[in-house]
Amino acid sequence: MDDTPQRTDGAATPPLAPLEVPTRDSSVATSREVVFEMRDLNVYYGDTLALAGVDMAIYKNVITAMIGPSGCGKSTFVRSLNRMNDSIPGFRITGEALYHGHDIYGAGVDPVEVRRRIGMVFQKPNPFPKSISDNIAWAPRILGLRNGLDERIEKALRSAALWDEVKDRLNQSALGLSGGQQQRLCIARAIAIEPDVLLLDEPASALDPISTASIEELMHDLKRDYTLVIVTHNMQQAARVAERTAFFSLDVSDGRRTGVLVEYDDTETLFTRPSDQRTEDYVTGRFG
């Protein structure tokens, strides 16, 4: 954690200056429709239990943030939501991961269909080595959405706040864009196929502060139409952006390190009146 220094003396230390958390109408979040529901979800890589017993519900048109120290399973959890972990050898889950009531890992569920509805944006921008418009149009063409492709491209780029910057160079290579622009292009690419949910795995961690701010602003706009789940190692970002926050941590026992969901609550509550001591230690910077 760069901004919250760790204390090593072990003595009881007063919390640092309280986090600026915008007040939100917390009742709104829980009254909405449930998009994801996890019941006792355990994630294994071979015999190693990577993530233990997660119970949580993610709500529609709400930004939900996953925070916690490195290696505690946040990315593993989020990647499990759209079956991106399937290709990792030894990966398996027990428990239930329900999407609108249907088991994501049920028999007969095609992972390609899952990812059609639950898109993902990665930490490092990964545009295809194609032109800007081809980057966005490639997937819709394959999925059969060939009508109105130009309108679709424009709409996606406008939603990603990138249209004005690239409208005159749609045929140029996407690799010529800056890092922040590339990431917004990846977001535009993801929303061009009109998914239901967008998962963002540390979307701004590879970007400079100005680009980060524009991505955060973008997320505020996107949540009107999409459900967003973001993983971030930056607590301030979670405080700025998310309505609900989940704190993951590591449980080190019997020589094994397992990720656990410690607390999941409205952002304001989690940061100002956490129920668990571990949460309080983390958000006040006693450990990072």
Binding site: N82, M84, S87, P89, V112, E113, V114, R115, R116, R117, G119, M120, V121, F122, K124, N126, P127, F128, P129, W138, A139, I142, L143, C186, R189, A190, I193, P195
Partner: protein, 297 residues
Amino acid sequence: MATSIETGNPLGPSGNLRRRQAVDRFMRGSATAAAVLAVAVLVIVVYSVAVQGGSQLSISFLTKAPPLVGLPGGGIAPEIVGTVLIVALATAFALPLGVLIAIFLSEFSSRATAYPIRLALDLLNGLPSIVIGVFAYGLIVYGGPNLGWAGSFALAIIMIPLIARSTLEVLRLVPQAQRDAAHALGISTWRTTLGIVLPACLSGILTGTVLAVARAAGETAPLLLTTGIFNPQVTSFNIFGVGLPNIPIEIFTESEASAPADHARAWGAALVLMAMILIANLGARAMLARSRRKMFR
């Protein structure tokens, strides 16, 4: 043994340093000599073929048919045509198969299923070419006429492991992040391979193919058994109906013949074949270097 301390020089030789230095110099000299020997062998081969065959090179050598055995003059035009046709057909067999095998190994198979296939590919690569020739002979030619396409079949078997292995190498160079991006858009693995992974590999696949072609163009044993020994006076394109004359067999038959004119033609044919392969090899390596520079920009 006098120690350095006794002689007063703290950095002087100690223990068996002189012997170790001698051994070091000897080994370095041996390694250098071996490397020089390898280069020398190549230079000697190229030089002798060039000197012996250079006198034969002319436009008519490349465009005329060989005369009756023993007579001077003529050329190897039918053989050039035959080699080009046989190798082209072999490439048409081997390229799609080799690329698909590599795609399967890289994109679709699990580690468990990949291992026996890679092993089979490596073993196929090491199979003696005459054994492959006998196989093709028994499968296609036995009891019937020699056929050009039987030779292509045998050469394709030789080319497939080479193309598959070089394609697999370039497929591995494509970053996983690209595949992740496509998968996260709800695109299946095959469409991802076709639209994102393969286009990034085209240069490497081409290079691997050219190297495989260069290898196959010089293989004599399989052609001996499948296309037979030929010395026609007429250029033929009928690869599916008859055995075609080709350069490696031509070199063999002309060398075994008795007249000096035949030997001269053999040298000329050897020069033409060697030039074709050297140019293909160097060209392929230049292309590969260019594409590697592009990929790591």
